[in-house]
Symmetry: C2
Subunit: 349 residues, 2 copies
DNA sequence: TTGTAGGCGTTATCAT
DNA sequence: ATGATAACGCCTACAA
């Protein structure tokens, strides 16, 4: 007996010392390259040859798991999509992420995910990280407006933005946030509101900025002015909604309605209204944005704008895969719709 | 002139044709192994040698990104944690995920994430997938109770469950769900409720099952019987809460309070109450579970049990890394606490 | 300190 | 159809 150490024929598969092609080739009495070929082929018309059958049997017995690191190294394809998705704790982001995962999985791709802080530095680092893992393409969900162009342009793999877009220089799959903001605002204007506050979210997020642009557009279309004191910038969290609402409702001439650029903040606005003893919608109308699952069942169901998160993730993957396949990546703007519930009504006076 | 094709000295970094160690070694006039060493060293006490400086300069100029696929293949460590996390769209899960990511990142690890459907078959497939990517360890968030032991036991890398546990055979980092259920129920019992309904979630999730066990325990401790008709199983979604509540409230002798095993379903219960014209807490007390951000600001702020999601993710990573480092993986049960808000009160009669 | 050689597990290109 | 061989990019003894 020699001192060979990979001869243990009846290793319980799964101990240290991974089962590799060499092991199964040895057991099947064929060459490694044969084993490789057999395991990657589909059954030929005339059935498996005898050696091929032995290979397949050996692989099953040993619990062979191909080492994708090695195969990716060799083939230069990882079948992995890199995803940069800050703020995963937010339902909206998480559901985009899940849609991305499903679509990727259906196409035979896996996700390499990072959830860096919502800052450009951290996001660029994340991109570097993913690139060094040789992902086949990148989906980035939360780029800031006017981000550094050079760092993300001309990468070695296709990249596509989603949820937010950083400007026109990168293809992006996003929802029609301007139209959404317009719809929300026009709904309130049509009800007769003339002083509408906006919990406007952060200035670096295209989603927030464009929903506010839609707010302005709605006023413009009716030749109404916008009082800038009614636009307060915050973050996307519940607490931001609370603080923003208190700011608005403390004004000398407070709004009769508030448009929050996301549902979470809208719930914060509801909280602030409750704290002040105001009834919704009697004393204050509220419109949110996104139509997350819970808002339909709140004690006061929320009027909101439905954003197509699942579609967004799926389309982003679809476009990215097309780009990986060769073409230029292509963006998309998805339609949104208003969902009227019970948090909005005509102003009392 | 030979036919060498990797001599293009002034490639714009980032085109196809990745920059590798050989390229930078060539440019710096040193051997590949030297380049490798230099780039992985920290600056020696007496500063960089001249060749080392050239290596560093070349790497910077060419925008060198080490190929982690190759280095992982060689070193047999990927610095990657595989994560199986179904139901990412749920805030609770997503925040665990984010906590896992932060902790992993802080330790120099990346996540390879999958969000398969919440079924054991899909989850086991996901594990296989991750293992073939040679992750250094696994975190699995949603195993079903009494899952197949053999498939997940004796893997080639450490594995740890979190959020839910599948039984005693796998180390798990979870919250004290029995105690949480007991706290919620005891709160209602102490208020004087004697018919308490439970929106009990799915039977395969330890979280749901143990919160219900806590519900029973609270009754036991007061020598009160549990009416099984008051325990209705559902899923974790809003709609499950709506349906479950309608079932309960349609009983001949309906409950005066409902404990929903998660906040999302509790909001569904609120919705059902509203649909029936019942006031919360006057006509119906409601307790949720998890203390997700929005419930504190609802028009009727929700009494709930706070679950330590961020801690859970962090501890899971910590334990996993310890196991990767050599030891046996070790589970943990984290404490929970009751948060009393406005959705609970003494029964009217 | 730097160079040399061999190999991680897989696949592609040959020749047989 | 199968076998031999080289190479993907990097790392690590070991030798100079």
């Amino acid at each position: 007996m020699g001192s060979a150490d990979d001869q243990g024929g009846q290793e319980p598969p799964g101990r240290r010392g991974e089962v590799n092609l060499q092991a199964i080739a040895g057991r099947a009495g064929v060459h490694v390259s044969t084993a490789s070929r057999v395991l990657r082929q589909t059954e030929p018309a005339r059935g498996w040859s005898a050696p091929a059958q032995r290979v397949i049997a050996a692989a099953a017995e040993l619990g062979y798991r191909p080492n994708r690191l090695a195969s990716s190294l060799r083939t230069r394809r990882s079948n992995t999509i890199g995803v940069v998705m800050p703020r995963l704790g937010d339902t909206v982001i998480a559901s985009i992420c899940q849609a991305v995962e499903s679509a990727a999985r259906a196409a035979g791709y896996q996700l390499l995910l990072t959830t860096p802080p919502d800052e450009m530095g951290a996001q660029l680092e994340a991109v570097d990280f993913l690139l060094s893992r040789r992902v086949d393409g990148l989906i980035v969900s939360s780029l800031h407006l006017s981000s550094q162009i050079p760092r993300l342009t001309n990468l070695s793999v296709p990249i596509i933005a989603t949820n937010r877009h950083p400007g026109d220089w990168l293809p992006a799959v996003v929802a029609d946030d301007v139209e959404g903001g317009r719809l929300a605002t026009e709904h309130l204007l049509a009800l007769g509101h003339r002083r509408i506050g906006v919990v406007a979210g952060p200035r670096h997020a295209s989603t927030a900025v464009e929903r506010v642009a839609g707010f302005r557009l709605a006023h413009e279309q009716r030749d109404l002015p916008v009082d800038e004191a009614l636009v307060v910038h915050t973050d996307f969290e519940v607490e931001g909604g609370v603080v923003g609402a208190h700011t608005l409702l403390s004004l000398a001439d407070p709004p009769t309605a508030v448009f929050a650029v996301n549902d979470t903040a809208a719930i914060g606005v509801m909280g602030a209204a409750r704290q002040r003893g105001m009834r919704v919608p009697d004393d204050l109308s509220i419109v949110g944005y996104n139509d997350i699952a819970v808002v339909a069942q709140l004690p006061t169901p929320l009027t909101t704008v439905h954003s197509p998160r699942a579609t967004m993730g799926a389309v982003a993957v679809e476009r990215l895969l097309a780009a990986i396949g060769g073409g230029e990546p292509d963006g998309a703007v998805l339609p949104v719709s208003l969902v009227v519930r019970s948090s909005t009504a005509a102003p009392l006076r």
